[in-house]
C-alpha cells in the first residue's frame, strides 16, 4: 500500500478509471501537458493522449456544456473547473441541464458526469479562489455533491462518482491537497456516495463537519478536556445527507455542533441543524450550534485566517454547548 496525499490519491483514481474504461474523458483548463494548476491530472495526458485528456478553451460553461453532450452520448467525462469561484459561469449548465436532464426526459437522456473542483480557502490565493459553494448545489435537485477530505476517502469516492449514472460534483478541499498523507490501497475500491464516516466515537456531543474544517475539528477535540467524549462525523457527501448516522449520534449525545467553511446563512449547516431538531427534538439538551464562515466574502488573504473557522471557535462552541 502506498502512502499518498490527496492530490496523488485523486490522480490515481483518475488514472485507474481511465485505464479501465475508455469512455472516461478528462477535460478542462490546463489539465493536459501542464497536469492542472494543482497537478491533479499530472501524467494523464502523456498516458492517454490528446483525445482523452483535453486542454479546453477558457470557458467554464463550455467545458460543462460540452461534457454534458459527451455524457449524453455515452462517454463518462470528468471535467475539472480550475477553482471554486469559476463554477459561476458554469452554474446554468450544471443546474439547468446536467441536474435536470434525467428528470426532464424521464430517464431517457442521462448525464453521467463528474465535475471536479478544488474548493475552500487557506492557501493565500487571490479573490474567488477560496469559495465553498456546496450548499448551492445541494439546493439544486438532480446532482449529488461529494466532498471527501482524506486521500483514502477521495480515491474511493471519486471512483464511485465516475461510475455513478448521475451527475456528481466532486469538491476537493485544496488546503488539504498536500497537507498530509495516508495509506491508500493501489487496488480499486469504492466508497458509497451518501455515507458519512464516524471519525471518532463519543457520548457527550456530536460534531458534524466536512472538507478542510475536519482538521480544525480534530484539533478542537484534541484540546477538549479529557473527561468529555465527543463524536466526530465527517459527512463526506454533502448531498444526499446521511442523516441516519447523524441522528443516531445525536440521539446518543443530545448535543450537536456543525462546522463548515461556507457562509452561515443558507449553508448546509442550516439544513443539518433543521433536520437534527426535526428528528431528535426530544433528545436535544442544547440548541444545535453552527460554527461556520461569516456572512461576508472570504477576504483577500491578509485576513484569511481571521475568516476561516479555527479550532478555537470550534472549541468555544463545544464548551458552550456542553455547558448548556
Amino acid at each position: 500500500m502506498a502512502t499518498l496525499n490527496l492530490v496523488q490519491a485523486i490522480n490515481l483514481a483518475l488514472q485507474q478509471e481511465m485505464a479501465k474504461d475508455e469512455r472516461v474523458i478528462v477535460l478542462g483548463e490546463d489539465v493536459g501537458p501542464n497536469g492542472g494548476v494543482f497537478r491533479v491530472t499530472e501524467g494523464l495526458h502523456a498516458q492517454f493522449g490528446d483525445e482523452r485528456v483535453i486542454d479546453t478553451p477558457l470557458a467554464e460553461s463550455g467545458i460543462i456544456g460540452t461534457a454534458i453532450g459527451m455524457a449524453m452520448n455515452g462517454l463518462r467525462p470528468v471535467p475539472e473547473i480550475q477553482f471554486d469561484g469559476f463554477l459561476g459561469p458554469a452554474y446554468d449548465q450544471i443546474v439547468n441541464h446536467a441536474a435536470r436532464s434525467r428528470s426532464r426526459s424521464r430517464g431517457a437522456v442521462t448525464v453521467p458526469l463528474t465535475i471536479r473542483v478544488p474548493v475552500g480557502g487557506g492557501i493565500h490565493a487571490p479573490e474567488l479562489h477560496s469559495d465553498s459553494p456546496e450548499a448551492i448545489y445541494a439546493h439544486s435537485p438532480g446532482i449529488k455533491v461529494v466532498m471527501p477530505t482524506t486521500p483514502y476517502d477521495a480515491k474511493g469516492l471519486l471512483t464511485s462518482a465516475i461510475r455513478d449514472p448521475d451527475p456528481v460534483i466532486f469538491f476537493e478541499p485544496k488546503r488539504v491537497y498536500r497537507s498530509f498523507r495516508e495509506e491508500v490501497p493501489e487496488d480499486e475500491y469504492t466508497i458509497p456516495i451518501g455515507e458519512a464516516k464516524v471519525v471518532s466515537e463519543g457520548d457527550d456531543l456530536t460534531v458534524v463537519t466536512w472538507g478542510a474544517s475536519l482538521f480544525q475539528c480534530i484539533e478542537a477535540l484534541d484540546n477538549a478536556p479529557d473527561d468529555v467524549s465527543i463524536e466526530l462525523i465527517d459527512l463526506r457527501t454533502t448531498y444526499p445527507i446521511d442523516m441516519d448516522t447523524i441522528a443516531a449520534s445525536v440521539e446518543k449525545t443530545g448535543r450537536c455542533v456543525i462546522v463548515h467553511e461556507a457562509a452561515m446563512t443558507c449553508g448546509l449547516g442550516a439544513e443539518i441543524s433543521s433536520r437534527v431538531q426535526e428528528r431528535c427534538f426530544l433528545h436535544l439538551e442544547a440548541p444545535v450550534q453552527r460554527v461556520t464562515g461569516f456572512d461576508t466574502l472570504m477576504p483577500y488573504y491578509k485576513l484569511e485566517n481571521e475568516y476561516l473557522v479555527d479550532a478555537k471557535r470550534v472549541g468555544m462552541a463545544i464548551r458552550e454547548t456542553l455547558a448548556y
Partner: protein, 374 residues
C-alpha cells in the same frame, strides 16, 4: 509595409426556389428527387396543420403554451433531408417539429410535451435527439459534446443543432461555436433567423448584417440561405454534412425565414410587429412555393391537395387522441425520475408527500395521538 491585410472573408447567399417559385437549375437540378419533394411538401403541410390544431387546443384549454412553427417548416425539412434517422443526431430548440418527426420522433410526443407531461421528452431509444430546449441558446454546447463522442468513436455520424436568431446572443452560443471548432466536432449549427425574438427585432438583437458572419469568429465555414426554400436549405446542409462526415469539422448555416405566427400562444405579436411585414412574408411561405414547384412539374394538383388535407386532418386527429389518451402521470414519477436510485430522503418525501417531519421517523417521539393523516 506598415499596414497589410491579414484576413479576408466573404459569405454567400443561396437561393434556388425563390419566392416566386422560380427554380434555379444550375444548383437545384437533381438536388432532391421528385418523390422526396412531394414527401417534403406533405410533411410540411401536416406540420402546418398540427400547428393550427395545437393553437386551438391551447385556446380551448386543452394544452399549455405552444410555439407555432408556422412559416419555418422548410428550414426544418430541408436540413433533416440530409440526415440519417437513427444515426445522426438532432439537438433541437422548439421550432423545428418537422425535423424531429423525420428523425423518428412520434408526433404525439410534441403535443404531450406541451400538454405539460415530461413523457413528451422521453425520447425513444432509436431516436437520436435531446429533448426540446426551453432555456434559449444553451443547448448547442451539447451538440459539440455529442459530436465529440461520435468523433472519437470514429463513426461518420453528425449532429445538427437548431436555434433562433435571439439564441445567438447567449454566451453559450459563442462557447458552443468555439468548442465545436477547436475540437473539430461533426456539428452543424442550423440557425433559424426568423427576424424576431419574441418582440425584439433582429436590429436590436445584433449589430451585424447577417447571422452567418458570426461563424467567422471561429474560423468556421458559414453560409446564408433562403430558409423558406427547401432546395437552398438542403444544398447548404448537404455541403455541411459532407464536410462533417469526412472529418472536416463543424459548419454554420443561416436560414433566413420568418415566424408567421405569434411567438407562442402566450404572445400577441400585434403589439410590436407591423402587419405589413407579416403580409410580405405570407407571400414567401415555403408551402406555397413548394406546391407551385410541384404543380409546374405535374407532380401535384388540386385532388392531391384535397387528399393531403384529409390525410393531415386524420393524422393530426389521431395524434391528438393519442396524446390526450395518455393518463396523467403518476405523482411518484416526480421523485423517481430524479436519480437512477433515489436517495432515502427523496423516497421518504415521495411516500409521505410531505416535507414536514412529524411522524416520519420511527425514532421521533412526542406526537400526542394520531393526528398525522387527516
Amino acid at each position: 509595409m506598415p499596414k497589410k491585410t491579414v484576413y479576408q472573408a466573404s459569405i454567400e447567399y443561396v437561393s434556388i426556389l425563390d419566392e416566386n417559385a422560380e427554380f434555379d437549375e444550375s444548383l437545384g437540378k437533381g438536388l432532391i428527387a421528385d418523390e422526396v419533394v412531394v414527401d417534403s411538401y406533405e410533411r410540411m403541410a401536416v406540420c402546418r396543420h398540427l400547428d393550427e390544431v395545437a393553437f386551438k387546443l391551447q385556446r380551448s384549454g386543452r394544452m399549455g403554451t405552444y410555439p407555432q412553427n408556422k412559416g419555418q417548416e422548410a428550414a426544418a425539412v430541408g436540413t433533416a433531408l440530409s440526415l440519417r434517422p437513427g444515426r445522426d443526431w438532432v439537438v433541437p430548440c422548439y421550432r423545428e417539429n418537422a425535423a424531429l418527426f423525420m428523425m423518428g420522433l412520434p408526433m404525439h410526443y410534441i403535443l404531450l410535451y406541451w400538454m405539460g407531461d415530461e413523457r413528451g421528452s422521453q425520447i425513444p431509444e432509436n431516436v437520436k435527439m435531446t429533448p426540446l430546449s426551453v432555456p434559449i441558446g444553451t443547448h448547442m454546447l451539447h451538440a459539440a459534446g455529442i459530436g465529440y463522442a461520435e468523433k472519437i468513436r470514429k463513426t461518420d455520424n453528425v449532429v445538427a443543432t437548431y436555434f433562433g436568431d435571439g439564441a445567438t446572443s447567449e454566451g453559450d452560443f459563442h462557447e458552443a461555436m468555439n468548442f465545436a471548432s477547436v475540437l473539430q466536432t461533426p456539428t452543424i449549427f442550423v440557425n433559424q433567423n426568423n427576424s424576431w425574438a419574441i418582440s425584439v427585432p433582429r436590429s436590436k438583437q445584433m449589430h451585424s448584417e447577417t447571422v452567418a458572419q458570426k461563424a467567422l469568429a471561429y474560423g468556421m465555414p458559414t453560409i446564408r440561405c433562403d430558409g423558406n426554400d427547401i432546395f437552398a436549405v438542403k444544398y447548404c446542409m448537404d455541403e455541411a454534412v459532407k464536410r462533417a462526415r469526412s472529418g472536416g469539422g463543424p459548419s454554420f448555416i443561416e436560414c433566413v425565414t420568418y415566424r408567421l405566427g405569434d411567438h407562442t400562444t402566450a404572445d400577441d405579436a400585434r403589439r410590436y410587429r407591423d402587419p405589413k411585414e407579416v403580409e410580405a412574408w405570407l407571400a414567401r411561405d415555403p408551402l406555397i412555393r413548394t406546391r407551385k414547384y410541384l404543380e409546374a412539374r405535374k407532380l401535384w394538383d388540386d385532388d392531391k391537395e384535397t387528399t393531403l388535407k384529409e390525410r393531415a386532418k386524420k393524422i393530426v386527429k389521431e395524434v391528438v387522441a393519442t396524446a390526450e389518451g395518455i393518463d396523467k402521470p403518476d405523482v411518484a414519477s416526480i421523485f423517481d425520475a430524479m436519480y437512477a436510485n433515489i436517495p432515502e430522503e427523496v423516497r421518504l418525501q415521495r411516500d409521505t408527500m410531505r416535507t414536514s417531519s412529524l411522524g416520519k421517523y420511527p425514532e421521533q417521539v412526542g406526537l400526542k395521538g394520531t393526528t398525522q393523516r387527516v
